[in-house]
């Protein structure tokens, strides 16, 4: 049981930042911010041990409001900065907050290689299916046929599945949630933080200002009701037929596997090299 909003606001949000925050009314990033802070509060971690790293975009503003160490980096390179932080100070808990453009377009290469290396990081990828901050251009996760300010007749490219991509690239923990399923999101963030290895949590978040407006999906309430209708637990998803799976999204833990992390393997290499040096072989 976590504390109420009041306790969390006092303890975890920065007192010298101006509230209400910069995001649009009803933006899912605010819900994710609350969820992240609740998960951090219930994980019992020391504030001084947590580092939040973000790139550019609407999601880049998120770590600014949390009273932990935070790094606001260049576009797409949040994971590389996080990798450096984790390698130099392995006892820190590093959480990376990225948008879909940040993670899969500009930093797409970094995402797959970070997943391949399996360093002990937590990546929260906020998928709003568009570039929200710059005016609703299509991003790599914009679904086929949907409209954007740069695709007025419908988008003609297929979209990335962030969860499947990071699962294939070798992440240890992959999960998906939406901002409507907020209790599930609390638990998944906590699991992702506690998981040893690269953990990815894809959070579907409504961008009613840009994506919703171009595609006539209504307000954020309508989009969150859509998520409620579309989301199915992974267990039920596995039993569904191909026809039923259309327009449905599996939610929950998609992959959870134990693999040696980069730091474990690196410590092993250091031990071997030190042994050989003692023997005088190198």
């Amino acid at each position: 049981m976590t504390g109420s909003n009041r306790t969390i606001v006092y303890e975890w949000l920065r007192h010298d930042k101006k509230f209400p925050h910069v995001w649009c009314p009803g933006c899912g990033l605010g819900i994710l911010l609350g969820s992240l802070v609740r998960a951090l509060s219930s994980s019992g971690l020391d504030k001084n041990r947590v580092v939040l790293v973000s790139g550019i975009g609407c999601s880049g503003r998120l770590p600014v409001y949390v009273d932990t160490a935070s790094v606001h980096t260049t576009h797409g390179r949040a994971l590389t900065f996080a990798l450096g932080i984790k390698l130099s100070k392995p006892d820190l808990v590093v959480i990376v907050v990225m948008g879909d453009g940040d993670a899969t377009a500009i930093g797409g290469n970094h995402l797959i290689h970070a997943a391949r290396r399996n360093l002990d990081l937590t990546a929260l990828i906020v998928n709003n299916q568009t570039y929200g901050m710059t005016g609703g251009q299509f991003s790599p996760t914009t679904p086929f046929g949907s409209k954007a300010s740069t695709a007025v007749f419908g988008h003609i490219e297929n979209s990335f599945d962030i969860s499947a991509l990071s699962e294939t690239a070798g992440a240890a923990f992959v999960a998906r949630s939406t901002v409507y399923h907020v209790n599930q999101m609390d638990n998944l963030i906590l699991q992702a933080i506690r998981k040893k290895g690269f953990s990815v949590l894809e959070v579907l978040s409504p961008c009613h200002t840009n994506f919703g407006r171009h595609n006539r999906l209504g307000s954020q309430v309508d989009m969150m009701k859509m998520y409620k209708k579309q989301g199915v637990p992974v267990k039920r998803w596995e039993q569904m037929s191909e026809k039923e799976r259309l327009d449905r999204i599996p939610l929950g833990v998609l992959t959870d596997r134990d693999m040696p992390t980069y730091l474990d393997s690196y410590a092993e290499v250091c031990r071997l090299a030190a042994g050989m040096r003692e023997e005088g072989k190198i």
């Binding site: 009041r6 007192h15 009803g26 933006c27």
Partner: protein
Amino acid sequence: MPSGKAKSPRSGRRDPKVVIYPAWCKKCGNCVAFCPVQALEEDEWGFPRLARPEECTSCRLCEKLCPDFAITVGEAPVIKGRSAEEPAPRATGDRSTVDRRHSPERVPPVLEHHRDEEESDREET
């Protein structure tokens, strides 16, 4: 707002205390739309209001779905020796000046203050 002692006829729990902080509210309507028992409703300015407190089960969904931390379910903390008229402490360079129980931007007695004003208006008319 009901006192914290009485029990709700529906849930048998203690009456909830839903505190809305209008200065942070952007009137997005998440809390009103997703309340499972429709205990909240919009007032004439678009802010949420606990219209049916006896229905509220303190499930805290409104608190969690609020992107702006503008709604809190639970007992409001009593701050000793501080009146509603006194301005909230401001954050300065030195964090130690900020009351630990209190965010600089949040003033729980706001609603009470509003209510006092409304009552005095009514008395005048």
